[in-house]
């Protein structure tokens, strides 16, 4: 058991869910689609929903895409080849914000582990 735990902790840990980061500049909405900071979603299909139409783009090798602001995008849907999907509804507050929960990744991992172990311990205690 110790072996498995040590093995896992020794390997680099990464999140897997698809994420969208959108940052506005003067002319463009700069979109980045990624799994983690190191693993971006290359050539992913990105649908831009505007009030009148739906436009389809692809991200570049860096997982990035520029959308002209005059299109007034209201929703971004990114789909990765294996079916991972992320929808980002754009509002004035959401643009320029990272969509991930603010907690650091390692902290979320520890909180998750703590909850799992507490849950099962609680269950054992309840059964007794």
């Amino acid at each position: 058991m110790k072996f498995i735990i040590l093995f896992i902790l020794a390997v680099h840990l990464n999140a897997h869910s698809l994420q969208i980061l959108s940052v506005k500049d003067e002319e463009f909405l700069n979109v980045k689609v990624y799994f983690t900071q190191d693993i971006v979603c290359q050539e992913c299909e990105v649908k831009i929903i505007t009030q009148n139409e739906t436009l389809t783009y692809k991200t570049d090798k860096k997982g990035k895409l520029k959308i002209p602001l005059h299109l007034n995008p209201i929703k971004i849907i990114a789909t990765e080849k294996l079916g991972h999907k992320k929808i980002l509804n754009l509002s004035k507050e959401k643009i320029a914000q990272n969509t991930q929960i603010k907690l650091p990744f390692w902290l979320k991992i520890f909180i998750g582990l703590f909850i799992i172990l507490s849950f099962f311990l609680g269950l054992r205690w309840a059964k007794k």
Binding site: F3, N14, E80, L82, K85, I109, I116
Partner: protein, 195 residues
Amino acid sequence: MHISEGVLNTQMLIATNLVGVIALSFSIKKTDFDDIAKTAVLSAVFFLGSFIHIPIGVSSVHLLLCGLIGAFIGISSIFAIFIALILQALMFGYGGFSTLGANICILGSACLVGRLIFTLKIEKLANLRYFLVGFFSVLSASLILSIILALNGKDFLKISYLAFASNIPIMILEGIISLFALKFINKVAPKYLRN
């Protein structure tokens, strides 16, 4: 390997959640609560294992460790995986709540296949058996994932092939991990593998 929110149609969601609920109920009923610590640790192992990412081309795949989990706790692994899946969906947006049933079907089957291979009475070929625990567990998970995607509609047929093909390296990798992990545990603490 997890199916994300918004991928499956309503019929598939109902069917997979129904199977998931039945499998989970059976698993909870069969769980030995005196030995719950093992289930807790393996739930944590699964929770962590899914974050070990291996980039393949423009995409990436992750470890499952379901074969190992199944070899340790058998049917209780579905309960262990369920708790980890809820937290992954809640904290990382990984998988999803509506697709919990589908993900239980995919990963639970992998654990049960791992357990089945582990309990085969082939003492002379122990190393091969340990390798196959990991290999076949990922193979079965990939097959179930592909079947669910293929049944979800014609649009998902190509994705189902791609999903299966992209998991082939993971089958081999998990086989090797299972081989070394089970060999080591069988040597130093075989009692953990008996139940």
